[in-house]
């Protein structure tokens, strides 16, 4: 059955080449059908791989170049449940985005389908590979396709600038990873995760290993859009076609978090073991800052796609702080959260796409009260807001609760407060936008033609009714997000998979020595769902609803409160928003400072 392993990238690459080659000879519907069927097939294959890899990772050596005396000459894939799960989610999202696109674009050439399938191939291979250089190649392929998709409507200024910002910042991230890879190759003479891991852990971590880890981690954290590397994300999301945003927010950004976890637990965990407390402190800190800053920005947006983009940044902060606890429960919490959040966020983006399709704008002020007759979209949108707030039984509450449990048992109880606050901010922002757009609550803004509305250009000709192919994927994804929290045993099973993921010695034995099983490592705590998680979920969701009401009716607040807010809250918020200047030179400057800061923190704490 190992023959299945290369299919998740081989099939979409071949079909993409076919579609682009035949582009003028195929009717539209056939293009759509082939592309959707391919993505669905990949999703099925990845699900099979997920269930086949629960005992031990499936290792596949390309061209039969198996390792010889612990030296890996060939390139290998090692399919573990977490990676395979992520890959199947990637394929599901691509399928949903392609279905949504059928009626969405005016004239979509088969180039679009080809690009989407290449994007799918790169992302799913990224989840499965076990070779550092191979990981970088998929990273670059994924990035290049993403730049092209962002600039799909190249005839406008916005997409052009968004794509340039995205591309320049992420390309520099790629170079940082490359430099880290060079340094680690210089030390170990290896490119396979398992072999590097063995060589690195044979001695205590010295400065070269730390520098290599920091360079690679920063590169992947840029992709994950952790503060202060996050600026590109909002620009790219604001201008990319909506189905593409679904993929950016739902899975691509999360792949950055996955990559940091993958390189940490396959190569550096043993060597960094004496410094575990410091590593945890640095990464949890970065995650918490990201969660809060993303949440605050999210609340202050009126451009729906930007609002959702900042909510993604906030959630990435939560994912990072989850795996940064360096326990099986924390990592499993992040994994469940990624899954639940991805479904919900994708569905919300599709709702924004439906609004854009119908009214040619996604500006909250311009849309005020215009969505009153869109009942299904409204229900989805509110459900999405509550789910981001962490309402049980959406998958998000379970992931959040697991991270909170892990935080409490490792004396990071304050992280619980951060997580609840961030959930309230992001959920509250979506609910506020929903209340204003679909219910017409609150007063309309005096200046509905705000500056933010201009960058969004219509992507399709409006129709009176929402087409079924646009509604269906949004409903299915939201339903899956809801069902995820109800799957029995999902939390303990993910925890076992996470504990296997963290077993560095066992991983290298499976890859290099063909060991028959991979044992879980670390302490297995009860995963849930438990009453504490449910209560925290309901609490955060209720907080989100209250926050949304406060935001909708902020003009009716007592004068004293208004004055206080105007003097103490507005100026720092204005200053924060001014940082998001749209100028890539500022973003690169922040990137340099962030890299230096993270490097200094690691150098200081890992002396």
């Amino acid at each position: 059955m190992d023959v299945l392993v290369p299919l998740p990238f081989a099939v979409p690459l071949l079909v993409a080449a076919l579609l682009i080659g035949l582009q003028s000879h195929l009717p539209h519907w056939l293009n759509d059908l082939i592309a959707v069927a391919t993505a669905a097939t990949v999703c099925g294959i990845c699900c099979v791989l997920l269930f086949m890899s629960t005992k031990r990772p499936l290792v596949y050596w390309f061209g039969g170049w198996v390792p010889h005396q612990d030296v890996a000459i060939g390139v290998s894939f090692a399919v573990a449940p977490l990676g395979a799960g992520l890959a199947s989610m990637v394929a599901l999202m691509v399928a949903a985005a392609l279905v949504f696109s059928i009626k969405y674009f005016d004239a979509v050439g088969s180039m679009y389908h080809g690009l989407m399938l290449i994007f799918l191939a790169a992302m799913s291979a990224f989840c499965l590979t076990a070779d550092l250089f191979n990981l970088l190649v998929w990273f670059e392929l994924m990035s290049a396709t993403a730049y092209a998709l962002t600039a799909y409507r190249i005839e406008e200024k916005g997409p052009l600038q968004g794509a340039l910002n995205f591309a320049i910042v992420n390309t520099i991230g790629g170079y940082l990873i490359f430099s880290g890879l060079g340094l680690i190759y210089a030390r170990t003479g290896a490119l396979n995760f398992a072999q590097i891991g063995r060589a690195v852990s044979s001695q205590p971590a010295d400065s070269l290993v730390v520098v290599a880890f920091v360079l690679m981690a920063v590169g992947f954290l840029i992709k994950a859009s952790v503060v202060p590397f996050h600026f590109w994300l909002a620009d790219a999301h604001a201008v990319a076609p909506t189905p593409v945003c679904v993929l950016f927010s739902g899975v691509m950004v999360e792949l950055g978090v996955y990559a940091v976890a993958r390189i940490y637990w396959s190569m550096f965990a043993t060597a960094f073991n004496p410094h575990e407390v410091s590593v945890r402190a640095i990464l949890v800190g970065a995650g918490a800052v990201t969660a809060i800053i993303g949440g605050v920005f999210c609340l202050s947006q009126t451009h729906l796609k930007r609002l959702l983009a900042f909510s993604t940044i906030s959630h990435v902060g939560m994912f990072v702080s989850g795996f940064a606890l360096l326990t099986p429960l924390g990592l499993a919490g992040s994994a469940v959260y990624v899954l639940g959040h991805g479904m919900v966020k994708a569905s919300l983006f599709l709702c924004a796409g439906i609004l854009l399709h119908r009214f040619q704008t996604v500006n909250e002020a311009q849309l005020h009260g215009r969505g009153r007759d869109m009942l299904p979209t409204a229900i989805l949108f509110f459900a999405g807001g509550l789910a981001l707030g962490g309402l049980p039984p959406f998958g998000t509450y379970l992931g959040k609760g697991m991270i909170e449990d892990a935080a409490v048992s490792h004396s990071y109880a304050w992280l619980t407060a951060i997580l609840i606050l961030a959930s309230m901010f992001t959920g509250g922002a979506v609910l506020r936008a929903g209340a204003r757009v679909f219910l017409g609550l609150g007063e309309p803004d005096e200046d509905p033609a705000g500056a933010e509305g201009k960058e969004e250009q219509p992507e399709s000709r409006p129709t009176g009714r929402t087409p079924v192919v646009m509604m269906a994927p949004a409903c299915v994804l939201m339903g899956l997000g809801l069902a995820m929290g109800l799957v029995p045993g999902i939390a303990p099973r993910t925890e076992v998979a996470a504990a296997q993921f963290m077993n560095q010695a066992g991983y290298s034995q499976v890859v290099l020595d063909n060991a028959p099983t991979l044992q879980p490592t670390g302490e297995i705590e009860p995963a849930g769902p438990n009453p504490f998680q449910i209560a925290s979920g309901f609490g955060a969701a209720a907080g989100a609803v209250l926050l949304a009401f406060a935001a909708v009716y902020r003009q009716r607040a007592p004068r004293a409160v208004c004055c206080w807010a105007a003097t103490w809250l507005e100026p720092p918020l204005q200053r924060l928003r001014a940082l998001q200047s749209g100028d890539v030179r500022d973003y690169v400057t922040w990137l340099v400072f962030g890299t230096a800061g993270l490097g200094a923190a690691f150098a200081f704490l890992l002396r």
Binding site: K157, G162, F178, G182, D583, R585
Partner: protein, 114 residues
Amino acid sequence: MSIYPWFVVAWLFVVGLWGVISSRHLVHQILCLAVIQSSTYVLLLAIGYKNAAAAPVFATNPPTVPAVDPVVQTLTLTDIVIEATVIGLLLSLAVQAWKRFGTVDPDRLRALRG
């Protein structure tokens, strides 16, 4: 091996970054990215370099002859392919900017804010 290549690597990386940060011309900015990338070529080749070693071609030499590391050279080649793709894509965006909006000054291409 001498220490000088490492200085060249650091210099190229930093000067390229400075170019990206201070640029007022899209093409200049994109080529500064290529300068940063050149630092990774030098880094990789420096890692594989050995004094007085032959090229890693064993058709005429016996396999025991000291040779430079062929793996990093392969990585460099792949790196160059990646650069060709990304820089090509970015330059095509710059060409589009010039065709559509008549400017390649990043300051005059602003459409996104806050």
